[in-house]
């Protein structure tokens, strides 16, 4: 045990001290922060207020076109030609011309611009004018806008899970996000660090240290020490990323005065609003600013918050850790065995296939089938098979999985990694002392039963 501990320490320290590790660990959160901050920064930058000069010959819109956060109106008087000349001299965005007209037949509006007027500005102005005309028509027919708003109905559905545990708010999107995020992290962790195990073994083999090592320790100790040491490196990096990303995002958003970077929750809230109110939003981009729209936004946001709160967080977290480590150990030992079987990295290709394929399938299936039908037969079987369960089960857990299924899957995963570790250690102990031999699967299968 003492020796394994020494090996773990070495594997851990030599990697954590590497420049590449330090740079990667520091750079990734910064990049992440940049990715989160940049879009909102760009939006604020392009949000320079537009100024529209208005020549209203009808007199119907006087004082009705109100300045908004990003659009200002400058009323003009005089003839159209004068207005045009005046407009040419300024750098205002557009000149809106409202001719003499009748409420029943609003026509002849023109907008002049120095460049092409953007669709957005055009639609916006159209909406404002339409709305104002509608208002005036309501007034003419004895209704006012407020009464009309009261009449308008707004329905949003709240989905609730009826289950043994009682009622729960449910939000499919949030549930999916939680699961998929966990699965993605597991997927990349297995690959990134699995390959590191493989490289480490190949390095020991090519530098010929391995014979010195196994005259001191058992091959199994050397292999397990490496796998556990690299797992610790991965966890360290992951943890640092979480902490540093959080710090970086907070710091950057504070420094640039940007609204706290859109958290996934806020992004989804925005997405939902967009989905629900697509029509109104298109017709009336300003509707976001009226009280009604804000209410809607707030209520969606609250939905999401409660959805998050209602997720079995402890369970998800525990399953994440379990499948994270289980999946890593299962594949890690196989990566180690591949490293032992070959002489250099270019020879690893043929053996990588059986590792990449189940992982990739699990990953693709998670998106295409499991998310749509988390309790279907494909999802069930893939979350039982140890090669795919770390990813597929992780996607399923937030949707709620019967306890027996979860326990069976975990049990099978443990059995799975005990099995792959056994296979790997058999291949490993033969392979590390084998040089200059092109190995194929037939040869590998023989190694399993060698007496060493």
């Amino acid at each position: 045990m003492h020796k394994i501990w020494l090996i773990i320490q070495r594997e851990y320290l030599t990697r954590v001290r590497k420049k590449s590790f330090i740079i990667m660990t520091l750079l990734t959160p910064l990049l992440l922060a940049a990715f989160m901050i940049l879009p909102s920064l760009l939006i604020t930058m392009s949000d320079e207020a537009e100024t529209v000069m208005v020549l209203d010959e009808s007199g119907l819109f006087e004082g009705k076109l109100q300045d908004k956060k990003d659009v200002k109106f400058i009323p003009l008087a005089g003839s159209l030609d004068q207005a045009k000349m005046l407009y040419q001299e300024t750098d205002n965005t557009a000149l809106l011309y409202i001719p003499e007209m009748d409420l029943s037949n609003p026509e002849g509006f023109v907008v002049y611009g120095k460049k092409n007027i953007s669709i957005q500005t055009q639609v916006r102005l159209e909406n404002m004018l339409e709305k104002e005309i509608e208002n005036q028509r309501y007034l003419a027919s004895g209704l006012d806008r407020e009464t009309l708003d009261k009449i308008k109905a707004n329905v949003s559905l709240t989905a609730i899970n009826l289950s043994d545990q009682g009622e729960k708010d449910n939000n499919a999107i949030i549930t999916s996000v939680a699961g998929v995020a966990g699965a993605v992290i597991i997927y990349f962790f297995i690959f990134l660090y699995g390959v590191q195990i493989m490289r480490g073994v190949i390095e020991e083999k090519t530098s010929r240290i391995v014979e010195v090592m196994i005259s001191s320790v058992k091959p199994f100790q050397l292999m397990m020490g490496k796998i556990v040491g690299i797992a610790a490196v991965g966890l360290t990096q992951f943890l640092l990323w979480v902490i540093l990303s959080f710090m970086a995002v907070t710091a950057v958003s504070a420094a640039f005065g940007v609204d706290a970077a859109p958290s996934p929750a806020a992004q989804y809230a925005a997405g939902q609003v967009a989905a629900q109110g697509e029509e109104t939003a298109l017709k009336d981009p300003a509707s976001m600013e009226n009280p009604e729209g804000q209410d809607e936004f707030a209520s969606t946001f609250n939905d999401i918050k409660t959805s998050f709160a209602n997720l079995p967080v402890a369970l998800i977290f525990f399953s994440f850790l379990f499948y994270f480590l289980g999946g890593y150990l299962l594949y890690g030992s196989l990566f180690g065995a591949i490293g032992a079987a070959v002489d250099n990295e270019t020879d690893t290709q043929q053996f990588m296939m059986p590792i990449t394929i189940p992982l990739a399938i699990a990953f693709i299936m998670s998106y295409s089938i499991v998310l749509k039908n988390p309790d279907g037969p494909v999802a069930f079987w893939m979350s039982m098979i140890p090669l795919t369960s770390p990813i597929v089960m992780m996607v399923r857990v937030p949707f709620g999985v019967p306890t027996w299924e979860l326990l069976l899957s975990m049990g099978l995963l443990v059995a799975g990694f005990v099995f792959t570790t056994w296979i790997a250690s058999r291949i490993y102990r033969v392979g590390i002392l084998m040089y200059g031999k092109k190995v194929n699967y037939k040869e590998l299968s023989k190694w399993l039963f060698y007496r060493v």
């Binding site: 020494l6 010195v212 001191s216 002392l433 007496r451």
Partner: protein
């Protein structure tokens, strides 16, 4: 007393036999040469002794006990293919390897200090292995092999890669390790290189032990009572007690190989010569281990 006893060890790989019923003993405190051509089975045998692999059949005793994992820390092994972690500092590497052999951190540190002072390589401690020359790496590896003061040191082709100066340094270290009671196994195919160092040898050829024992005894067994004489004068041997095997003469200086017959002693030959010629040199022609090996291999093939 023997530190290592190998008793009927056989090892087969998938399609060839690496060791076939090999038995011999290694006395404590000697320098033991494990000799044989490439592919004879030397490395297989070493890997069994160091417990990297196990024998198919046969037993190995270390200090009278069956070989067990605990014995590993009493052995130091320098493999033929040298290797260290390239990206690790010399000091850390030595410490790591010593700790894996069971030394405590403080003890290992103290011993590393003593060794680097002895080899005058103190300034290397903070260098990465990959920045050292091959000879320097070998020195570091030699230190790693003996740092835990093993009672059995196994050196596979120890002098390959060393320049003559460093080879001598290592030779001296090996001798002083023996002084302190360690037993050293030399494995090499270059038999002449260790002939003068070894007390005992075992010759292995094609998985089988050909011959073993103290070097002196082996030579005595194989010596032919032949002497080389160099001198001045006209040598004409007519005595039936001496047989001339070879004779050259150049500018009055002769060189002759003479074998003693009929239980005569070298002194008899010398007396005989002194009366007739001026003797400059009189040397016994002892067969080299290499010659013995070749002869022995031929014998076994004909048999």
């Amino acid at each position: 007393m023997s530190i290592l006893k190998i008793d009927g060890v056989t090892k087969t790989y998938a399609n060839h036999t690496a060791l076939d019923n090999v038995s011999f003993e290694i006395p404590q405190g000697c320098i033991f040469g494990l000799l044989g051509p490439n592919g004879a089975g030397k490395t297989s045998l070493i890997r069994i002794i160091t417990q990297i692999t196990g024998a198919d059949s046969g037993k190995v005793y270390f200090k009278g006990e069956r070989l067990k994992p605990d014995h590993i820390k009493e052995m130091g092994y320098l493999p033929e293919e040298r290797g260290l972690y390239k990206k690790m500092k010399v000091g850390e590497q030595l410490l790591y390897l010593a700790q894996l052999k069971g030394l405590s951190k403080s003890e290992a540190t103290a011993r590393i200090k003593a060794w680097v002072d002895r080899f005058e390589i103190r300034e290397w401690l903070d260098k990465n292995i990959e920045d050292l020359s091959k000879g320097m790496q070998q020195k570091v590896q030699f230190i790693a092999t003996v740092l835990h003061e093993p009672s059995l040191i196994i050196l596979d082709e120890p002098f390959s890669g060393f320049d003559p100066i460093n080879a001598n340094l290592i030779k001296d270290e090996i001798l002083s390790l023996r002084e302190r009671g360690a037993t050293i196994i030399f494995s090499t195919h270059r038999m002449e290189s260790v002939e003068e160092l070894c007390d005992n040898i075992a010759l292995i050829n094609r998985a089988q032990k050909v011959l073993d024992g103290p070097v002196k005894e082996i030579r005595d067994t194989y010596k032919t009572d032949t002497y080389q004489i160099i001198g001045n004068g006209q040598l004409m041997i007519t005595s039936p007690d001496f047989e001339v095997l070879e004779q050259h003469s150049n500018h009055g200086i002769f060189r002759a190989n003479v074998r003693l017959l009929n239980n005569t002693s070298p002194n008899d030959l010398l007396r005989y010569l002194i009366q007739r010629v001026e003797v400059h040199s009189f040397v016994e022609l002892v067969p080299s281990i290499n010659e013995i090996f070749i002869r022995k291999v031929k014998e076994t093939h004909h048999a």
